[in-house]
């Protein structure tokens, strides 16, 4: 039995916005009977070009129905630009999470939404391009690449959970493995920028790292460490206990404390001892 959240159960038992809108502005259909799940999404825009109504019909399991129901709730009131930003993970989050084997249900929701928006904008739904990797489910390398990038997928099983590829005969597993390796080795052009942390965030993280990682290790040898100040990426600390008299304290400071802080907080940090 799947571990569904109460919210999944609620949206399955009491689905919101079931049906189709007859004079819909956008219509998106994904999936098929053969695949075991399919979703038809329709939406209507108001005068301000916001989604005033969204309805769905879904053939599929409980999480497919719940994901579709959640999607209609999420996009109501949004502009199309806002709606276009909804990710499959947003749908899963809205439901309090989905079992990982069911993540493809949230991907189906996102795909239907994209198609419906494209339909409204008068774009012919882009024909699947790229090389078919999974012949059982007709999944291309582009779809696998996208899912792997957006969801940081690491294994073939992950890819199967998100887009079904590899879930049939298994002949494409090697190729999926290659694609994952490519994606992970060669990060996306639009990869997220390295996080810029404020000083306050850095101080908080330094304190956490000292408490969680560094102090327990020093305590074992009867030593201790205290954060004195932080300025321009320099971390001022005071060594206490046996550390303060230990001849190797500078080694501890540079090779252990600084390395840990660089690794866990920010690579620019430098540690300096306050002796007083």
């Amino acid at each position: 039995m799947w571990e569904y959240t109460d919210k999944v159960r609620d949206h399955f038992i009491n689905p919101r916005n079931v049906g189709t809108i007859d004079d819909a502005d956008g219509v998106g259909e994904v999936g098929s009977l053969a695949c075991g799940d399919a979703l038809k999404l329709t939406f209507k825009l108001d005068d301000d070009k916001r989604i005033s109504d969204a309805r769905f019909q879904t053939f599929g399991c409980a999480s497919a129905i719940a994901s579709s129901s959640a999607l209609t709730e999420m996009i109501k009131g949004l502009t199309l630009d806002e709606a276009a930003k909804v990710t499959n993970d947003d749908i899963a989050q809205f439901l309090g999470g989905l079992p990982k084997e069911k993540m493809h249900c949230s991907v189906m929701g996102r795909d239907a939404l994209e198609k419906a928006i494209a339909h409204y904008q008068g774009q012919t739904v882009p024909k699947k391009e790229g090389e078919i990797v999974c012949e059982c489910f007709g999944i291309t390398d582009l779809e696998i690449r996208r899912a792997a990038q957006e969801n940081h997928l690491k294994t073939i099983e992950d890819v199967t959970d998100y887009v079904k590829a590899g879930g049939g005969c298994g002949n494409c597993h090697d190729r999926i493995g290659e694609i994952i390796a490519e994606v992970r080795g060669k990060p996306l052009a639009v990869k997220s920028q390295p996080k810029v942390l404020t000083n306050v965030q850095k101080i908080r993280m330094i304190e956490e790292t000292l408490d969680r990682e560094i102090k327990p290790a020093l305590n074992q040898d009867g030593g201790d460490i205290e954060l004195v100040d932080f300025d321009q990426n320099t971390v001022y600390v005071r060594l206490r206990g046996t550390c303060s008299t230990c001849a190797a304290s500078q080694v501890t400071l540079k090779s252990y404390v600084e390395t840990k802080l660089k690794e866990l907080v920010s690579p620019e940090l430098v540690v300096s001892e306050v002796t007083q």
Binding site: F12, E29, G36, F137
Partner: protein, 400 residues
């Protein structure tokens, strides 16, 4: 909320008489049956009694029964024991609708260099006997064909298969876990060499099974260790569970007559009730040669997991051949081998009864199912105003 349990091909309730028989072996009689002292020796006698009870159920002799931990172990033992004993022959035969305990091991052996023949079935799930006969060869070491299918209940002609195997001196193994207690299983009438049984399918606990090994059959142990089970299966015996499966075997033999007739009557009532009250519902499998407790019904244009979870809300427990319920992405290999269309395979529900079920329970299911089906069809894009509508979704097709 009451539970209406119609999933007895998955597992069964342990019979209270079985529990009672087992209990002393947890507390009072905890001796090791291999011990020299009488305290252990008496426990060995109880195992012997269980062996006799099980032998009686299938008309074997007690020495031909090896206790195992489950049906899967029995299957693995039968298959490995045979191919290790006959290393020169490299061809093995099975059906396309076996339980994973057999199917996956055969697929594993195919990768190891064995030539495997998978005998197909027809639309009713009946074995293609012509294909079977045509593929027997001098190089065939082993045939594994189930006695009755767990998903559809279809019973295979083991007598004819056994005859062909015997004539050619090919070892015949049958996974019979679904058969005993539901239909007569007689290894004298049906000359099989190896036969797998499982405790929890016949109202004994989980964690115990048995393998029938015909006297004189070449055998190499699968679990190698101590001398237990006459050197055919190492490991200290799961005494209480073995006592349990023995008692359950005795009760199963007694249940075969009027009790199974009643189960069949309830099954037919349920099946007819559902077919008559739900549009586009159909029975999967050959209804003329079928276990008395099983019916597999497809509710077209909706998906099985959704149906099961709606049923679950009402306390009704059953199984589905849909893709989503198994964690795999493809619907049941049994229904696919039968050529059941996708419109129906995804929405298949298996009801499997036991003598614990009542007529009132069947009527409850007959009353509750139609609204569930209607509700899910209302949600389905393939159903429009009371009719199937496949006009949409002409684009991407899923070739599986």
């Amino acid at each position: 909320m009451n539970t209406v349990y119609v999933d007895n091909n998955a597992t069964t309730r342990v019979d209270p008489a079985v529990v009672e028989a087992m209990l002393p072996f947890f507390s009072e009689y905890y001796g090791n049956p291999s011990s020299m002292h009488a305290f252990g020796g008496n426990v060995a006698k109880s195992i012997q009694t269980a062996r006799e009870q099980l032998a009686t159920l299938i008309n074997a002799t007690p020495e031909e029964i090896v206790f195992t931990s489950c049906g899967t172990e029995s299957d693995s033992t039968a298959i490995w024991a045979t191919i290790s004993s006959i290393p020169d022959k490299k061809h093995i035969i099975t059906s396309r609708v076996e339980h994973p305990a057999v199917k996956n091991l055969y697929e594993h052996l195919a990768k190891k260099g064995y030539k495997v023949t998978y005998v197909p079935v027809d639309r009713q799930g009946r074995l293609d006997l012509d294909y079977f006969h045509a593929n027997l060869s001098e190089d065939t070491a082993l045939i594994s064909i189930m006695w009755a299918n767990n998903e559809t209940g279809v019973i295979f002609p083991i007598d004819e298969i056994a005859q062909a195997a015997n004539e050619r001196g090919i070892i015949l193994h049958t996974d019979a876990v679904q058969a005993p207690g539901k239909i007569p299983v007689d290894v004298q009438k049906n000359h099989v060499d190896l036969l797998s049984l499982s405790g929890h399918k016949i109202h004994a606990p989980k964690g115990v099974g048995a393998l029938y090994v015909r006297k004189g059959t070449k055998f190499t142990p699968f679990l190698i260790g101590g001398h237990q089970e006459h050197g055919r299966r190492g490991g200290t015996e799961n005494v209480a569970a073995i006592v349990g499966i023995g008692k359950a075997a005795e009760l199963a033999a007694a249940n075969l007559g009027s009790s199974m007739t009643e189960v069949a009557r309830l099954r037919d009532r349920l099946e007819q009730g559902l077919i008559n009250n739900v549009e586009m519902a159909m029975v999967n499998g050959d209804t003329t040669s079928r276990l008395p407790n099983t019916t597999n019904i497809s509710f077209e244009y909706i998906e099985g997991e959704s149906i099961l979870l709606m049923m679950n809300e009402l306390g009704i427990c059953a199984s589905s051949g849909s893709a989503c319920t198994s964690g795999s992405l493809e619907p049941s290999h049994v229904l696919r081998a039968m050529g059941v269309p996708f419109t129906a395979a995804h929405g298949s529900i298996r009801f499997s009864l036991s003598h614990y079920n009542t007529e009132a329970e069947m009527d409850y299911i007959i009353e509750k199912m139609p609204p569930i089906i209607e509700r899910l069809r209302h949600l389905s894009p393939f159903w429009n105003q009371g009719k199937p509508d496949e006009s949409m979704f002409t684009g991407a097709e899923c070739p599986i």
